[in-house]
């Protein structure tokens, strides 16, 4: 404490005539969860910003090491809780690579995986847009975007049984086929979506207040974004068209026709536009999946890896034994290490998975996209106003379940 007067509020860490060290968060409403930023400020201008993370550390990586391969997906979904399906997909793809069954996953399962991941990307962007809007004083946008999200969560609930963490994507395929009437619901959403996006755009895109708050705020160059490991829309808003779905296609993404939206400004407004366009592209992928969806099984046919259908357990002894074995001791995965990445809503989401041949993962390391996106705040914030810091945090779209894990 080296100030000349007593601090007036507990948030003030240090104070002198021209400089103040202020703690923003971890309970600040605009920090999207539990982020603390230790700010050095001179007047209204931020001179240093040091994000302090770890308030939501739940040891998911350690927990995953102590669960069976088949169970670990459950906790891994809880890392990025806004798009659990992307996390699950990435982990499952890594395990399938270790098992050597990547190309044996039925086509229908892959298509449904793509469909649900794109839906959850839109749902995740809806939360980002709603909360980003609230941060900037645009309250009504929240209800418009959560209306779309609500419809998507209904679809996810229909497929997997839960709205947030369905644990629907499983090793070797899916936990059951889509229910009847799913595609009709999807079609209704696809039909309604363009109008909703139009409303979102009308509310914000040409809104002079919105532009005042976001244009030229939190600017990043392509060079900076790459050297800080920034990903997803934050990277594409600087003009780098890197998308894992195109660079390292997985689950049959090469079959779908979609654009990778980019902008060159690299500011908060550019990120906003890129994400809006991304939502539309994702919905177009969903429509393509809906049209192309093939019939057939949704699971790789190997009872040593995939649980048999529930209805066969009562009538088949083998099915009962396989079910019992998978539930009681899990599956064994051949030893090896693998890095698998997918394009999550926040950029390259990667899993470095190591197996030693046992029924539990030896190590599950996440490449948390949010962590690297948030870290660039140290570079981005100095020289800006405190009020703009809220815009920057919002536009980087960190999810603290993923930052802290």
């Amino acid at each position: 404490m080296s100030g000349t007067f007593e601090p007036v509020a507990p948030e003030i860490i240090e104070q002198s005539d021209d400089r103040m060290v202020l703690s923003m968060g971890p309970q600040h409403p605009s920090t999207h969860g539990v982020l603390q930023v230790v700010l050095g400020i001179e007047g209204e201008t931020v001179t240093t910003a040091e994000p302090e993370i770890g308030y939501l550390h739940t040891g998911i990586e350690k927990t995953a090491e102590n669960l069976f391969w088949t169970q670990a997906g459950t906790v891994i979904e809880r890392m990025d809780y806004l798009s659990p399906l992307s996390n699950a997909l990435c982990y499952i793809l890594a395990v399938e690579k270790l098992l050597g069954i990547t190309d044996k996953i039925p086509k229908r399962a892959q298509q449904i995986r793509v469909l649900l991941c794109e839906l959850s990307r839109i749902a995740s962007h809806c939360v980002w847009l709603g909360t980003h809007g609230i941060d900037l004083g645009a309250i009504s946008i929240f209800w418009y975007s959560f209306d779309i999200r609500e419809n998507i969560l209904d679809l996810i609930e229909a497929s997997g049984g839960a709205r947030m963490h369905p644990n629907y994507i499983r090793i070797g395929g899916l936990n059951g086929d889509l229910p009847e009437g799913f595609l009709e619901k999807l079609d209704a959403l696809i039909a309604k979506f363009p109008q909703r996006m139009k409303e979102l755009r009308q509310l914000l895109q040409a809104n002079p207040i919105w532009q005042d708050r976001t244009v030229d705020v939190g600017r990043l160059t392509a060079q900076e974004a790459i050297s800080w490991g920034v990903g997803g829309a934050n990277l594409r808003a600087t003009g780098v068209a890197y998308d894992v779905r195109c660079a390292f296609p997985y689950s049959g993404y090469e079959e779908y026709d979609f654009k990778v939206p980019t902008r060159t400004e690299g500011d908060a407004y550019a990120r906003f536009i890129v994400r809006l366009e991304e939502m539309e592209e994702s919905m177009s992928i969903c429509a393509q999946v809906g049209k192309k969806l093939v019939g057939g099984p949704v699971n790789y046919d190997d009872p040593k890896l995939v649980q048999p259908p529930k209805e066969t357990i009562a009538i088949s002894m083998e099915a009962l034994i396989h079910h019992f074995k998978i539930v009681s001791e899990g599956i064994r995965v051949p030893p090896g290490d693998v890095y698998q990445s997918v394009e999550g809503p926040r950029g390259e989401l990667g899993y470095y998975v190591v197996s030693n041949g046992n029924n539990k993962p030896w190590r599950v390391r996440t490449r948390p996209a949010s962590l690297y996106n948030l870290q660039v705040l140290k570079k981005m914030a100095p020289g800006n106003f405190i009020a703009d810091l809220v815009v920057m945090i919002g536009s980087l779209d960190p999810v603290f379940g993923e930052v802290d894990r």
Binding site: N66, W228, G229, Y242, G336, Y352, V354, W362
Partner: protein
């Protein structure tokens, strides 16, 4: 502080990374900590512009005990279209770290995003990065003891740190360590004696 509750190993491969040929599209290189900076500098000048991630793995029974894993990506700077990005080169650098020399040079000056990644490995594995400007814990509280992602760290943490379980959560209402009642003990002795007799005849 490592707990006495060491999780059972039951492993089949002590060094899984060398158990089979690479199964993903990354080039894999294994080096020692003293080669690290030169190697990564070399990769950077070859156009590996992005440091994707740094991860740690504890192999416990292997020598070197730890692996620090660097994932690099060659993302061209001015790539404004999907075709220009193409399929970028990916490199995985595995750095073996001995249990008694947990010290690795930092690469914060090469890629600034190594900052938090290295702090996280320090926090969870206890591997220090020489030359790092701010080597503090990042996820765990500053006064935490032990390194949670090490394999000899019990999943629920050191026993002393654990919240005691409420009485109703225990299977029996008899407190642990209570000797069995005399009648129970005698019955048990009788049973054992009878079993012995059965074995002898």
């Amino acid at each position: 502080m490592p707990s006495s509750q060491v999780p059972p190993l039951g492993s089949t491969a002590i060094d899984p990374t060398s158990a089979r040929p690479p199964i993903d599209d990354a080039e894999i290189i294994r080096i020692t900590p003293d080669q690290l900076r030169a190697t990564l500098q070399d990769f950077k000048s070859q156009g590996m512009t992005m440091l994707l991630d740094i991860g740690g793995v504890d192999y416990l029974a292997r020598s070197p005990r730890f692996d620090v894993v660097y994932h690099l990506l060659a993302l061209p700077l001015g790539a404004a279209s999907i075709a220009e990005v193409g399929k970028p080169r990916r490199v995985r650098v595995l750095v073996g770290v001995e249990a008694d020399a947990t010290n690795v040079p930092t690469i914060v000056d090469l890629w600034p995003n190594a900052d938090w990644a290295e702090r996280e490995i320090y926090d969870l594995f206890g591997i220090t990065f020489e030359g790092h400007p701010d080597m503090r814990r990042i996820q765990m509280p500053d006064d935490w003891e032990g390194y949670p992602l090490r394999k000899d760290y019990a999943p629920r943490g050191p026993a002393a740190e654990r919240t005691p379980r409420p009485a109703f959560a225990n299977k029996s209402n008899v407190p642990a360590g209570t000797p069995p009642a005399a009648a129970v003990s005698e019955a048990l002795q009788r049973e054992i004696a009878q079993a012995r007799k059965g074995l002898d005849t």
